[in-house]
C-alpha cells in the first residue's frame, strides 16, 4: 500500500487522480480491512491535515463545513447547536467520544451508509455537498448524493471538500432522534430528522421536512402533505407525520430489528423529531442530543 499525506486540497486531488483513496480518520476503512470485509486500498492519501477541510465558516448565506470537520467539533459548535440543531443531535450520538473525534462529516457522507446519523439532518437542513476533482468543482443536493448502500454519485477522483448549509429562516428548528437499545456505542437501527419553520406570527406551520435513517437503501425524505402548511403543529399533524414516515419506510429485517418493528418505530422517531423541531422553532430549550435529553435516554 502507498501512503501519502496531503497538505493542500490540490495535493489530495492529484493523488486521487493517480488512483489514491482519500481518508480522514480512516476508521471505516480500517475496521472493514481488519474484519476481512474489504482489503485496504492500494494507495491512500490522508486529508486530515488539510487546514481548509477542517474549518467551519459562517456568513449571511449560511455555513460551510469542511469535509474533515469531526463529529466532536460539530456537536459543540455554537452555530451548529443554535441553528442546525439536528446535525448536532446526530453528531453527538455517533459511536463514542473517540469515534466522534476521529470520524468526519465528509467521511460519513462518502461512506454512504443508510444508517449514518448525520445524513437525515443534512437532508432536512437542505445541505449541499461540494465535490472537487482536478478538472471541476460541483455542488449537488445532499438528497441526490446517495444511490444505494455504500454508493453515491461521486466519481472515484472526486473529493468531498465541504458541506454547505443555507441560512435558516427565522423561527426554524430541527431535531434528530434515533432508536437506541443502549445509551452509547450504538448504530442507528432507525432514526429520523425533522426541520420545522413557523409562520412569522403565531405557531402555524410554514415549512416542514422530514428524513429517515436506516429504513431504505439510502437516507430518504418523507413527503408531508401540503395541507399541513398553515396549520398548527398539533397531535393530529404529528400523527400524520408518523404515518407518512412509516409508509415511506422500506426497511429490511436483520439482526438489529425486524422490518415490521422498524416501520413502526420510524413513525415514532419522526413524530418525536418533528415535535422537538417544533419546540425549538418556538424557542424552547431542548438540549443536545435529543436522545439523551428527552424520553427514554434521559439520565
Amino acid at each position: 500500500m502507498r501512503f501519502t499525506k496531503a497538505e493542500t486540497v490540490e495535493e489530495a486531488l492529484h493523488a486521487m487522480a493517480a488512483g489514491a483513496r482519500p481518508i480522514a480518520g480512516g476508521s471505516d476503512l480500517m475496521v472493514a480491512a481488519r474484519q476481512g470485509k474489504s482489503p485496504l486500498p492500494e494507495s491512500i492519501v490522508a486529508i486530515d491535515r488539510i487546514p481548509a477541510l477542517s474549518r467551519m465558516d459562517a456568513d449571511e448565506r449560511g455555513m460551510r463545513i469542511g469535509a474533515a470537520v469531526s463529529h466532536a467539533q460539530l456537536e459543540v459548535d455554537p452555530r451548529i447547536v443554535a441553528d442546525y440543531t439536528a446535525l448536532a443531535d446526530a453528531a453527538a450520538l455517533v459511536g463514542s467520544p473517540a469515534t466522534r473525534h476521529v470520524g468526519t462529516i465528509g467521511g460519513n457522507i462518502m461512506n454512504s451508509s443508510p444508517a449514518m446519523d448525520t445524513g437525515a439532518p443534512l437532508v432536512v437542513l437542505d445541505g449541499r455537498v461540494e465535490l472537487r476533482s482536478l478538472d471541476r468543482t460541483r455542488q449537488i443536493d445532499i438528497s441526490e448524493m446517495w444511490t444505494g448502500p455504500g454508493q453515491s454519485v461521486a466519481a472515484v477522483d472526486e473529493l468531498c471538500t465541504a458541506i454547505l448549509l443555507p441560512e435558516r429562516a427565522p423561527r426554524s428548528g430541527s431535531g434528530y432522534v434515533r432508536l437506541e437499545y443502549r445509551r452509547a456505542m450504538e448504530i442507528a437501527v432507525v432514526g429520523a430528522a425533522a426541520s420545522v419553520t413557523l409562520a412569522p406570527d403565531g405557531d402555524l406551520l410554514a415549512a416542514i421536512s422530514v428524513a429517515l435513517t436506516a429504513v431504505a437503501p439510502t437516507i430518504v425524505s418523507v413527503e408531508i402533505p401540503k395541507e399541513a402548511i398553515g396549520r398548527p403543529v398539533d397531535d393530529d399533524l404529528l400523527d400524520r407525520i408518523a404515518v407518512a414516515a412509516s409508509e415511506r419506510a422500506q426497511p429490511i429485517s436483520d439482526v438489529r430489528a425486524s422490518a415490521r418493528y422498524r416501520k413502526h418505530i420510524v413513525g415514532v422517531m419522526a413524530r418525536r423529531a418533528a415535535a422537538s423541531a417544533f419546540g425549538r422553532a418556538r424557542g424552547e430549550t431542548i438540549g443536545v442530543p435529543l436522545n439523551r435529553t428527552a424520553g427514554i435516554g434521559a439520565p
Binding site: 437499545y181 452509547a184 430489528a257 424520553g295
Partner: protein
C-alpha cells in the same frame, strides 16, 4: 471482617493494572515465536469429504498445519464426546478442523484460507423440542458408545435429571389455583474483555503454557489427557487474566497450541479475535425452554410445582452434564413446596457447546421462576413481596430436596432490598419496581497453599488459586497477615502457576475464597504455631502465652517481653525454616432427605447456600418497548464479608451483567446454525452510560461449614436475580410477563 476502613483493600495486582505494566498472555513474546490460527468448520453440521492441506503447507512462512492425524485419538469432555480436531463430522460452526503455525499471524491467516475442506451437509439439529423426537437426526450417531455412566442419557438427551418430592398430582389436586407458564431464554455469552491467548514453549519433553485460563489445573489435566503427557511434563502459567466469567473455564485450546509448538520446535502463540471469542469456546450460556406449573391455596401458600426444562447443550458436553439438576433447583427456587416434580434435560444441538458461564443455568431459570411467581401472587391477589415472604424459606425451613436450612438470611435480604428501593412508593406512570429472589450453592473443594517467611522477614504465599479479577486471591494475603500479626504487603503472592503451587479448582464456582481462603487460614495458623514456638524459646515463655501482633511476637501480659518477626525469621533461617502449608478440609455435602433425584449430579443439596434479593426500578418507553433500568437495590447473604470493597464490586458487576442478559444480550442464529451477532456492536453489553445506581447491602450471617471466618462464595450470586426483577418490573408496566429472554425492546413492543 479482615479488611476494614482502617486497613483498606489495595489489591496487590492493582499497580500493575493501572500503569499498564501488567502482562497478559497477548503481551508476552518469546524469541522465534510463531503465530497460530485455526481453521474452523464454518458450518453447523456436515461430514468432511475432502481435507486438502497442500496449498496451505506450500505457502512460504507456514511451519506446520496439523489435523486429527497429528494428535492422539482421544475423546474428552464431561461426557467424552469431543476430540481436539474434527476427524469425520463437524457439529458446530466453531469446531476446529486444522491448526496452522506460521511466521506471523497474517501468514497463518492466509494458510487457513488456503486449506480446502469439503463437506456433505447433514441435517441441523437446532430446535430443543424437535431434537427430542424419535425421528430427529442425531448430533452424535455413536452417543451410546461414549463412556459416561454417571449421567442418564438417551439419543439427543446428553443428561437428564429430575427432582421429586411428595406427590405432585395430589398437590395439584389439593390446590385452589393452578397457574402454568412457559418461558424461553436465548443463549448468551461471558464476554471477558480480554480475548483468550495461549503461548506454548517446549524444552525437551516438558512444555510450559501461558494461558488466559480461569482453571490452570483443569487446563493442565486436559493437555495431559489429550496429548498423553504426565502432569509433571506440563506447566500452565497464567499471567494477569483479563476476566473470565466462566468463559475461560475448562480446557480449551492449550493442547492445540502445545501440539503446534512441538511440531514446529519453537514457541507458538495463539490470540483470539473478538469473533473467535464468541464462536469457538465451549462456554456459552445455554439457551433454555421452561414450562412451569404451580398449585397454590387461596391464602397464597404454595403446595405443588411441576416443571419441565430443556437446556441447549450445543454440540459437545464441555461441563454441562450437571446443568439439568442445577437448573431444576433454580426452577424449584428457595421456596417451601411440599410436592415437586421437575424434569430437566440437556439436549444436544448443532450449536456452540454450552458451559459454566457465571452462575450457569441460574439467571435464566430464576428469571422464569420469578416471573411465574409474580403471576402466582397476581392470581391470588397478593402483593408479590408478601407472597415471597410467605413462601420463601427461612432459617429452619425444609426445602424442595428435603434439606433443612440452618441460619440463613433470605427473609432479611427481601426486607433490606425492598426497604432500600422504597418499595410501594408512588412512581411516574412509565416506571415500576420489580423484585426477585435467588439462591446459589457454595462449592467446597480441595485447595492448598504454602506460606513461608524468608530470612529478612519478607513473606511469600504460594497458592494454586486463580485470580480472574474478582480480588479473591488478592484477599488471601489479608487473611494470612491477620493471623500472623503482619501486614498484607509483607507477603509476595505467587499464584496461578501449576509448576509452583499446590492444587486448586480455579476461578470457578465462586470457590476461591471459600476453599483457598480456608487453606490459607490453615497454613497461616500452622506458621503462627511455628513463630510462637520459636518466640517462646527465645523469650523463655510458654507457647500458649505468645501473641502475634504488629509484627511482633510478645508474651501476653508483658508487652516488654517481645521479639520482632524479622528477628525470628533471621533465627529460623539458620535452623528450622518458617515454612507452612495448608489445605481446605473436606466439607460434607448435605444429604437428600425424602426426595429422589434421577440422574443425581450432586448439586441438589447445598453447602452454605447463598441468598439474594434484587429490586429494580425501570422506565418503559411505551412507543418503542425500550426499557431502561434506573435503580437497583440488592441484598445478599453470602455469609461473613471479609473484603467489603471487593464484595461490593462483585455485586455491582453481577447486576450489570444481569441487566445485559435481561435486555440486550442474546445470541441470534441464522437458519444454518451460525451466530449472527458475534461482535460487540451487535452483541450489546451495557455501557457506563447505561449503568444505574446500585445499592448493596450484605446480610452477614456467620455460617458453619462455610469458608474462612464464615464467608460463603459471592461472585456468581449477584448474577442470579437481576433479570427476574427486571422482568417483574416490566410486567407491571405492560400487564403481563415477557416470555422470552432477553426482553429486547422489540419483544416488549410486540406484546403491547
Amino acid at each position: 471482617m479482615v479488611i476494614s476502613e482502617s486497613r483498606p483493600f489495595l489489591r496487590a495486582d492493582g499497580p500493575d493494572k493501572v500503569t499498564g505494566s501488567g502482562r497478559y498472555v497477548a503481551d508476552i513474546s518469546l524469541t522465534g515465536m510463531a503465530a497460530a490460527k485455526f481453521k474452523y468448520a464454518g458450518m453447523a453440521h456436515g461430514r468432511i469429504t475432502k481435507l486438502d492441506l497442500e496449498a496451505a503447507r506450500s505457502i512460504p512462512g507456514v511451519y506446520a498445519v496439523l489435523t486429527h492425524k497429528d494428535v492422539p485419538d482421544v475423546r474428552f469432555g464431561a461426557i467424552p464426546d469431543r476430540k481436539l480436531f474434527a476427524s469425520d463430522v463437524v457439529r458446530f460452526e466453531g469446531e476446529v478442523v486444522a491448526a496452522v503455525a506460521a511466521i506471523d499471524a497474517a501468514t497463518a491467516a492466509r494458510a487457513v484460507e488456503a486449506i480446502v475442506v469439503e463437506y456433505e451437509p447433514l441435517p441441523i439439529v437446532d430446535d430443543l423440542e424437535a431434537a427430542l423426537d424419535e425421528n430427529s437426526p442425531l448430533v452424535h450417531e455413536s452417543w451410546a458408545d461414549y463412556d459416561a455412566d454417571h449421567v442418564v442419557r438417551d439419543r439427543n438427551v446428553a443428561s437428564f435429571s429430575s427432582i421429586e418430592r411428595g406427590d405432585v398430582e395430589a398437590g395439584m389436586a389439593e390446590a385452589d389455583l393452578v397457574v402454568t407458564s412457559r418461558f424461553e431464554a436465548d443463549a448468551s455469552h461471558a464476554v471477558p474483555i480480554e480475548p483468550r491467548g495461549i503461548l506454548a514453549q517446549w524444552e525437551g519433553d516438558r512444555v510450559t503454557i501461558w494461558s488466559s485460563t480461569q482453571v490452570p489445573f483443569q487446563a493442565r489435566a486436559g493437555v495431559c489427557e489429550t496429548l498423553g503427557l504426565a502432569t509433571n511434563k506440563v506447566r500452565i502459567i497464567v499471567p494477569h487474566l483479563g476476566g473470565g466469567f466462566g468463559g475461560k473455564c475448562g480446557f480449551h485450546f492449550e493442547a492445540h497450541v502445545a501440539a503446534l509448538a512441538r511440531a514446529v520446535r519453537r514457541p507458538v502463540k495463539l490470540v483470539f479475535t473478538r469473533e473467535e471469542e464468541f464462536v469457538a469456546p465451549d462456554r456459552r450460556r445455554e439457551g433454555m425452554t421452561i414450562d412451569v406449573t404451580s398449585g397454590i391455596r387461596r391464602d397464597g401458600t404454595l403446595v405443588a410445582r411441576r416443571g419441565r426444562m430443556l437446556l441447549d447443550n450445543g454440540a459437545y458436553t464441555a461441563d454441562a452434564d450437571f446443568f439439568p439438576q442445577l437448573a431444576a433447583m433454580h426452577l424449584a427456587g428457595p421456596y417451601k413446596i411440599p410436592n415437586v416434580l421437575i424434569e430437566s434435560s440437556l439436549v444436544y444441538t448443532n450449536r456452540q457447546p454450552s458451559g459454566s458461564v457465571r452462575a450457569p443455568t441460574a439467571p435464566q431459570a430464576c428469571w422464569a421462576l420469578e416471573a411465574h411467581t409474580d403471576e402466582l401472587a397476581d392470581a391470588v391477589g397478593m402483593d408479590p413481596v408478601a407472597f415471597r415472604r410467605l413462601n420463601a424459606i427461612d432459617s429452619g425451613s425444609v426445602g424442595v430436596v428435603g434439606q433443612t436450612y440452618g441460619e440463613i438470611g433470605l427473609q432479611q435480604c427481601i426486607n433490606a432490598a425492598v426497604e432500600e428501593i422504597e418499595y410501594g412508593s408512588d412512581l411516574p406512570p412509565d416506571e415500576a419496581v420489580g423484585v426477585a429472589i435467588g439462591w446459589w450453592p457454595s462449592f467446597p473443594g480441595p485447595s492448598g497453599v504454602y506460606i513461608k517467611i524468608d530470612d529478612d522477614g519478607a513473606g511469600q504465599i504460594i497458592t494454586g488459586a486463580q485470580e480472574c479479577g474478582t480480588g479473591a486471591v488478592m484477599t488471601i494475603p489479608h487473611i494470612v497477615a491477620d493471623e500472623l500479626g503482619m501486614q498484607p504487603g509483607d507477603f509476595e503472592l505467587i499464584y496461578q502457576d501449576t509448576g509452583a503451587a499446590p492444587y486448586d479448582v480455579g476461578a470457578t464456582g465462586s470457590q476461591t475464597l471459600l476453599n483457598n481462603g480456608r487453606a490459607a487460614l490453615a497454613g497461616a495458623r500452622e506458621l503462627a504455631r511455628q513463630l510462637k514456638e520459636l518466640a517462646a524459646e527465645h523469650l523463655e515463655a510458654s507457647t500458649e502465652d505468645i501473641v502475634l501482633q504488629s509484627g511482633e511476637a510478645s508474651v501476653v501480659g508483658s508487652p516488654a517481653s517481645s521479639v520482632s518477626i524479622v528477628e525470628l525469621a533471621a533465627i529460623a533461617a539458620d535452623n528450622n525454616l518458617l515454612l507452612a502449608h495448608g489445605s481446605s478440609e473436606v466439607i460434607e455435602t448435605p444429604p437428600l432427605v425424602g426426595s429422589t433425584c434421577v440422574g443425581d449430579q450432586g448439586v441438589a443439596a447445598w453447602s452454605a447456600p447463598q441468598f439474594s434479593c434484587h429490586a429494580v426500578r425501570v422506565r418503559l418507553d411505551r412507543d418503542t418497548g425500550v426499557v431502561r433500568v434506573l435503580e437497583v437495590s440488592t441484598a445478599h447473604d453470602s455469609g461473613t464479608i471479609i473484603n467489603p470493597l471487593g464484595a461490593t464490586g462483585q455485586v455491582e458487576g453481577g447486576v450489570l451483567m444481569g441487566i445485559g442478559q435481561a435486555l440486550t444480550e442474546g445470541t441470534r442464529y441464522d437458519e444454518d446454525g451460525r451466530q449472527l451477532n458475534a461482535g460487540l456492536l451487535e452483541y450489546k453489553l451495557q455501557t457506563i452510560a447505561d449503568a444505574p445506581t446500585i445499592a448493596t447491602r450484605f446480610i452477614e450471617i456467620d455460617t458453619p461449614d462455610a469458608g474462612p471466618h464464615g464467608a460463603k462464595g459471592l461472585a456468581e450470586a449477584p448474577n442470579v436475580a437481576t433479570a427476574g426483577a427486571i422482568a417483574n418490573a416490566i410486567a407491571k408496566l405492560v400487564g403481563h410477563p415477557i416470555r422470552r429472554l432477553p426482553m429486547t425492546a422489540e419483544r416488549v413492543w410486540e406484546t403491547l
